[in-house]
């Protein structure tokens, strides 16, 4: 059980030590999943998914969706972890 806010603040903020955890220590780079090299289908108003690709590939939480596109002559890596 966590203590009340006022009790928590009774504990002195001891100086940071080398073994303390800072936010970046907890960061993880998601694995990259290549989603599609196909262009958007304007006539269908749909992205083109190769037959082996499931909808889940672009909607499961915290996959990293990578679109290999020709935009700006480069490869764009698109994360969807921020969505959920």
């Amino acid at each position: 059980m966590l203590l009340s806010a006022s009790v928590l603040l009774l504990s002195a903020a001891t100086p940071q030590v080398a073994t303390d955890i800072v936010p970046l220590d907890l960061g993880t780079r998601p694995h990259i999943v290549e989603l599609s090299r196909d262009p958007y289908d304007w006539s269908l108003q749909q992205g083109l998914r190769p037959s082996e690709m499931k909808l889940a590939d672009s909607t499961a939480n915290c996959n990293t969706a990578t679109m290999q596109t020709q935009r700006n002559s480069g490869t764009d890596q698109v994360h969807d972890c921020g969505f959920d």
């Binding site: 603040l9 504990s11 694995h31 269908l44 992205g47 909607t59 915290c62 996959n63 700006n72 969807d80």
Partner: protein, 319 residues
């Protein structure tokens, strides 16, 4: 005609467009990351979009607007433009789309998903309100203090990436709380007792429950969301325990939300609330044979009673 505000890699929008076609419903999809391919004009009389095929939608043709994922943050870079052009342009584009949402809301046409929901109903508000409806783990936020000893969960209040390249994420994870640096703000939560993850898609009063077939121990994870390829972990339909759907409905009404995906951890038959995502994804849970979840979302989006009024607020009880 349904106006779908999204991006070109939104698989759920793909399915919704397909279902509209199946029903013979008019739909126009604006993908914000492909904005250079569209032509757009808006005056005091109204707006018009054209897409590259010659398809168009005028404001007077719009019968409903669904806010899916019209974000440039998590989509491929758009064609052309220097980094300076992007800085100058992207905020303007996001604002135009937000104004389309406001325009629709003012006419009762914005449906089901509240664009500002994720910001309005933050982690702390949803946990405070949840205490009246579900078992919830204790939590605290703070800095300038040394956390009491013990294993606890650390969560993020926001979904912003971290690191110089902004390419890393801080997933929910357990830490020795006393080692958290006092210099930083932390959201700390007691470790919820439970072994199996479950999630409920809420669509304007309807609840669709799912649970993971494997326990967290089987998977060797503290939180399934950290798993890449999480969709390969089997999920199955979860018949909600008696009374839970009613509590979820009451909870979502208290938050002023008509849509969301709620995460729980199951301790036997007890569902412990973890969080709600007001624009949560659900595509990987759906049955691709018939798309019942997508159909429910489309039905609700077309139903005028799902309109987002703009007056939604979170109602908290006094403890």
């Amino acid at each position: 005609m349904l106006l779908l505000l999204s991006n070109s890699i939104d698989g759920t929008a793909d399915v919704l467009v397909e279902l509209c076609r199946e029903r013979g419903l008019g739909v126009f999809r604006f993908n914000i990351d492909l904005w250079t391919h569209y032509r757009f004009a808006w005056t005091a009389e109204g707006f018009v979009f054209h897409d590259p095929t010659g398809r168009s939608i005028a404001s007077e043709d719009v019968s409903a607007v669904l806010w899916r994922r019209p974000s440039l943050r998590d989509t491929p870079d758009w064609e052309g433009g220097s980094p300076a052009d992007r800085i100058a342009t992207e905020a303007e584009l996001q604002t135009i789309v937000r104004e389309i949402g406001d325009w629709a809301r003012a006419r009762g046409l914005l449906r089901l998903i509240e664009p500002s929901g994720p910001r309005r109903v933050g982690r702390l508000a949803q946990m405070r309100v949840a205490r009246a409806f579900f078992p919830t783990p204790d939590w605290a936020v703070g800095w300038g203090l040394r956390w009491p000893e013990g294993r606890r969960m650390v969560k993020r209040l926001s979904t912003e990436p971290v690191g110089e390249g902004r390419d890393a994420y801080i997933f929910v994870q357990s830490v020795d709380a006393e080692r958290l640096s006092p210099q930083w703000p932390w959201l700390v939560q007691e470790v919820a007792v439970g072994d199996r993850d479950a999630t409920v898609l809420y669509v304007q009063g309807r609840c669709f429950g799912f649970e993971m077939e494997r326990t967290r121990a089987d998977l060797g994870v503290e939180d399934w969301r950290i798993r890449n390829g999480a969709h390969d972990d089997p999920w199955r339909a979860w018949p909600l325990p008696d009374g839970l759907a009613d509590r979820i409905d009451a909870y979502m009404k208290r938050l002023g939300l008509k849509f969301g995906r709620l995460d729980f951890i199951l301790d036997g038959a007890t569902a412990i609330f973890l969080e709600v995502n007001p624009n949560g994804q659900f595509g990987w849970l759906d049955d691709p044979q018939d798309w019942p979840l997508h159909r429910a979302v489309l039905d609700a989006a077309l139903d005028p009673s799902s309109r987002i009024e703009g007056t939604q607020t979170t109602i908290e009880t006094i403890d």
